[in-house]
Structure formats: C-alpha cells, structure tokens
C-alpha cells in the first residue's frame, strides 16, 4: 500500500529525514516510533503531499506523491499533530465541509457524516461548536475528519498526544477498530502504545531508519528476557573478566552474560535472565562468594531504541546506535 524508497528531506542547515526506505502492506497498522524531532512528522508530511521530498520516492496507494499528488490526496486521510479544526463551526457542519473538500458527492455526504459520527462517537456533539469541545472530543472529530472519505490510507500524527489516560485508551481502541478497512500509519514516541495498537513498527531517530519489525516478534523476545547490569571489581587488583563471566553463567536462570566494558579495575556485565526468575540474589551471592566485590547491581534502564535494538539483535543497527549515543554524550 505504501512503498518508500530512499526518501530524504533536507533543509538549508539540517537533514530532517535521511534516506528512509520501508514498505507497508494493505490493512496493517504500523507504528512510527522515535523520539521527538526524529523526523516522524516530516516523513508523514511527505507521504501526505504536504511537503515535497528532496530526494527519493514515496508511492502511496499506488501513486507517486510527486507525480500524481491529486490521486494520492484522494486516497489518504490525515490527522496532523493538532487536529485541523475550525472553532467557529459546528461538528456536523465541519465534517460536511471536509467531506465536500475530499470530493464526496451530495448523496454520499450525509451518509458518511452519519457514519463517521457514529464510528468516532461524536454523534452527541454534532450540533456543538467545535470551540466548546473538550480535547478528547476534538481528537475524535479530527479522526472522524480523516476517515470521512473512506480513504485507503490513514496517516495519524501522534493521535494520543495530550489526552488523559482514559481518552488515550478510547482513542487506541478506535484506531484499532479502524484497521480492517484502512492501512494505518501512526506516529508516537511511546513504546507501549505501539505494542498495544500496532502490528508492525518502524523506528527512526535523527532522521535515520533504525529498524522495522513486527510487534509480535518484538513482544515475544521482550517477554522472554530481563536484563540486569552488574559491576564487579577484584578485592585486590584485577579480576579476570572471563572467570567472572563463566561464574555468572552458572547461576540458575541466567540465559546470557555479556561483558560490556572495563573501567580500570571495575568490570561491567550485562546479564540476561528468564523473566520472573529472581536471579538478582543469586547473582550477588555468586559474586561475593567467589571473593569479588559487587559494586553495583541494577536493572538496566534502556532507552526506547536500545530496548528495540537489543530485542532485535541487529548488530549493524546496534553499532549505529552506539556511535550515535557516543556522539550525543559528547
């Protein structure tokens, strides 16, 4: 449904999106994941023909965004970060206006407005001025606006941003229920959101695509492991990291030990274990009984990208991320 090849957007001073390629099948919900400023909005704007790409191609619903923008625009529904509402209009009136704008015929128009009002549960505010609506309602009117012409592709930019937890759940359910009829891309910087709503995930950061994978793959791997960071030092002088590693691997429930780095006499290990197996006590005991010092033991708090990278175990991407991380820490 969507094919993106080497898509790039450069501004005078920076590159917002850097050679991104991915493909999305019909009927999928795809999460576009990345920290703020990663280039999510820019990519979406290029897919909606709002911004022209500097280089590369994007084919949406069978049409190139540069060659045939009109055909693309007919087939997409777009909800920008702030819903594009006219406060002086009433909900129903606004939806009719958007319907006309999207080219619905008179006969279809009232039917579709009825339908989307029902679908997005905004029927009870149909006669209300949009300026009087709560944030949650506005977001739903925004969604209703996006699906009014029954588009093949739905592009939603942070559809749950700024909502309260109850509204977030409602919006997620709504988006999920739309998935059968539309191909959906939604952007977010919240990992659980992707886990709950999406089937496929595309991760970008600093304009670069880090990885794409299915969410079920990601979850399967995430379910299996828990990871702990251990810092071990010798009583007097050096310890042999290999010895520590073999000792740690012998602890029951540990699946993998990864020697991360050595700082002077201290050695940092990352230990993966099966979830819900309480290995921390055993780990501590093992280290102390072997006569080493245990300086630190903590669950490894990982950034969103690290979680994903560790889960997918993509070495090239890990390296890229490490390089990026070092660049950032400087």
């Amino acid at each position: 449904m969507i094919t993106v090849k080497e898509l790039t957007k450069r501004y005078a001073r920076n590159t917002a999106v850097d050679h991104i390629s991915f493909e999305i099948q019909k009927g999928q919900i795809v999460g576009f994941l990345g920290p703020n400023g990663a280039g999510k909005t820019t990519t979406m704007r290029m897919l909606t023909c709002f911004l022209p790409p500097t280089a590369g191609t994007a084919i949406v619903a069978g049409f190139d965004v540069l060659e045939e923008p009109m055909e693309v625009k007919k087939r997409i529904g777009y909800l920008p970060e702030t819903p594009p509402l006219y406060p002086e209009m009433r909900t129903g009136e606004y939806l009719e206006f958007v319907g006309r704008l999207k080219g619905l015929s008179k006969a279809e128009l009232s039917k579709r407005v009825d339908y989307v009002c029902e679908r997005c549960s905004v029927a009870d505010v149909r006669e209300k001025l949009i300026s009087k609506l709560s944030k949650g309602y506005r977001q739903r009117v925004g969604l209703a606006q996006a699906i009014i012409h029954n588009p093949d592709v739905l592009i939603l930019d942070e559809p749950t941003a700024g909502l309260d937890p109850k509204q977030i759940n409602e919006t997620r359910d709504l988006i999920k229920s739309l998935a059968g009829d539309h191909t959906i891309i939604l952007s977010t910087h919240i990992l659980p959101e992707v886990e709950q709503t999406c089937e496929q995930v595309i991760i970008i950061t600093k304009g670069k695509l880090i990885a794409t994978d299915s969410v079920s793959n990601l979850q399967n791997r995430a379910r299996g492991v828990e990871s702990v960071l251990l810092e071990v030092a010798g009583r007097n002088g050096d310890v042999d990291p290999a010895a520590v590693q073999t000792r740690l691997e012998r602890v029951k429930g540990v699946s993998k030990v990864h020697f991360k780095e050595k700082r002077q006499t201290r050695n940092l290990f990352e230990v993966e274990s099966v979830k819900d197996q309480l290995v921390r006590g055993d780990l501590a005991r093992a280290v102390v009984e072997a006569g080493w010092d245990l300086n630190e033991l903590r669950p490894s708090a990982m950034s969103l990208e690290e979680v994903f990278l560790q889960l997918t175990g993509d070495p090239a991407a890990v390296q890229a991320e490490d390089a990026a991380g070092k660049g950032a820490s400087k």
């Binding site: 704007r45 909606t48 023909c49 709002f50 911004l51 022209p52 009109m70 625009k73 007919k74 997409i76 777009y78 920008p80 970060e81 702030t82 594009p84 509402l85 006219y86 406060p87 002086e88 209009m89 206006f97 958007v98 006309r100 704008l101 999207k102 080219g103 606006q145």
Partner: protein
C-alpha cells in the same frame, strides 16, 4: 468549480459567524451615510443659493453628488480591505488548518479563488448597502444611472485588486495583526502616491501617480469607462493572485 464553491461558502460563513462582517457593514454604512448626508445637504444648499441668485442653468446630480460620493467610497474601501483579507491565510496557518486544505484533493488555484471570491462577495455586500442611499437620489432627482453603474464597477474592480494583494500578504505570516497592518500600509501608500502629481511634473511623479489607485478610480467615478484603468485593476488582481499562489507553494518548500 465545486471546490471553489466549497471554499467560498466556508469563508463567507466564517465572516458572518464572527462579528467581522457585521462590524464592516455597520462601519461602511455609517461612514457612507454620513458622506451622503453631507454631500446631498450641500447640493441642496447650493441649489437654493443659485436659485436665489437667479441662475437658471440646471445643476448636474451626477457631477455634484454621485462623483464625490463614489470617490469617497473608494477611499473608505481602502481602509476596510485589510480587515477583510488579514485572516484569509494567516488564520489557517496559525491554527494548522492549512494542512487540511493543502492535503485535500483540491488545487491551490481553487483554494485561492474561493477565498478571493468570498472576500469580494463580502465587499460587494458592503457596496450594495451603500447603493440603498442612491435610492433616494433616484426618487427625488433624476440622475443618469449609467455613470453610477460604471462607478460601482470601478469600486468593485479596485476592491478585487486590493483584496488580492491583501490575500497575498496574509499568506506571508501567521499573525493576523501583522497581515492587516502591512496591507493597511500598502493600501494607504497606493492612495497617497496619487498626490505626487499634484505639485511635481517630472517623470517619476507621473509614474508614482500612475501606480496610485486613486488615479485610476477617478475616471470610473466620473462615469467614464476607461479601458486603461480597467486594465490596471485587472492586472493588479492577477499579480496579487499569482503571488498568493507562489507564496502558498513556497510554504511547502520552506515549512
């Protein structure tokens, strides 16, 4: 065409749900009404005076009432145009609704035309209100209707040009006030440039006065349909609309 109509209807609606349209109608009606009263009273006074002096040649209503009224209306219009155009694009950019319009399957040209026509329609409404005053002139006097019609055509052409320019300025900013103030400045400039030819006879003065709106509205107010003045306004309109289109396009490359 359907899309133009959709945009036109939406724009007109938003003029009339906010106080803007009513305020403009009220202001224009009041100011024009005052001019009308003033000029007609003077006309009557002069008429009586010439009768007392025993002068019997008839006074021309078109010359003495219609013409000054129309040129006054033209100047008042210049002051109201920024209020009509300032929100056209600035507001869409501020609230983000421009993203909806631009990602919908309508052409930029249709969007621009719809907005421009809506603004022109509102201005036409203002003019229609002033036309009510002339009902009295027709009732008690015997003016020629053709120069009056040409005068109104001139006002409409002038408005079309200035509205297009105001619309262009509105695409440049997210801030209505800035768009309004800049448009107001340009309108004012286009009015006063005409004064240059008053005391100076050099070429630059005549060029400046050619640029001025008032120079070109003059003949219309007189009731003379001069092609060269009509061309001036139509050209200005096209320039305004053309620049609006280019600016809208560049919005996407820049933002």
């Amino acid at each position: 065409m359907r899309n133009v109509l959709t945009i036109w209807r939406k724009e007109l609606r938003s003029y009339f749900v906010s106080p803007v349209a009513y305020l403009l109608l009220l202001m224009f009606a009041l100011i024009f009404g005052f001019f009308f009263w003033n000029i007609v009273s003077y006309f009557v006074y002069e008429g009586m005076e010439s009768q007392m002096r025993g002068e019997m040649f008839p006074m021309n209503v078109n010359e003495r009432v219609v013409r000054p009224l129309l040129s006054n209306a033209s100047v008042v219009g210049l002051f109201l145009i920024p209020l009509i155009t300032m929100r056209l694009f600035a507001e869409e950019k501020r609230t983000g609704t421009i993203e909806l319009l631009v990602t919908s399957p309508i052409r930029d040209g249709e969007l621009i035309l719809g907005k421009w026509l809506a603004a022109l329609t509102l201005y036409g409404g203002l003019l229609l209100l002033t036309a009510l005053n002339f009902v009295w002139v027709f009732k008690y006097g015997n003016p020629d209707w053709k120069p009056l019609a040409i005068g109104y055509l001139g006002l409409l052409l002038q408005a079309g040009a200035m509205l297009a320019i105001g619309m262009f300025i509105s695409t440049l900013t997210k801030n209505q006030i800035i768009a309004g103030a800049a448009t107001f400045g340009i309108c004012l400039l286009l009015w006063v440039l005409g004064w240059a030819s008053g005391f100076e006879t050099a070429t630059w003065a005549s060029v400046l006065s050619y640029i001025s709106v008032t120079t070109h509205i003059e003949s219309f107010s007189k009731g003379v349909l001069d092609l060269k003045d009509a061309v001036y306004f139509v050209t200005l309109t096209f320039v305004g609309i053309f620049f609006t289109a280019r600016s809208l396009e560049s919005l996407r490359w820049r933002s």
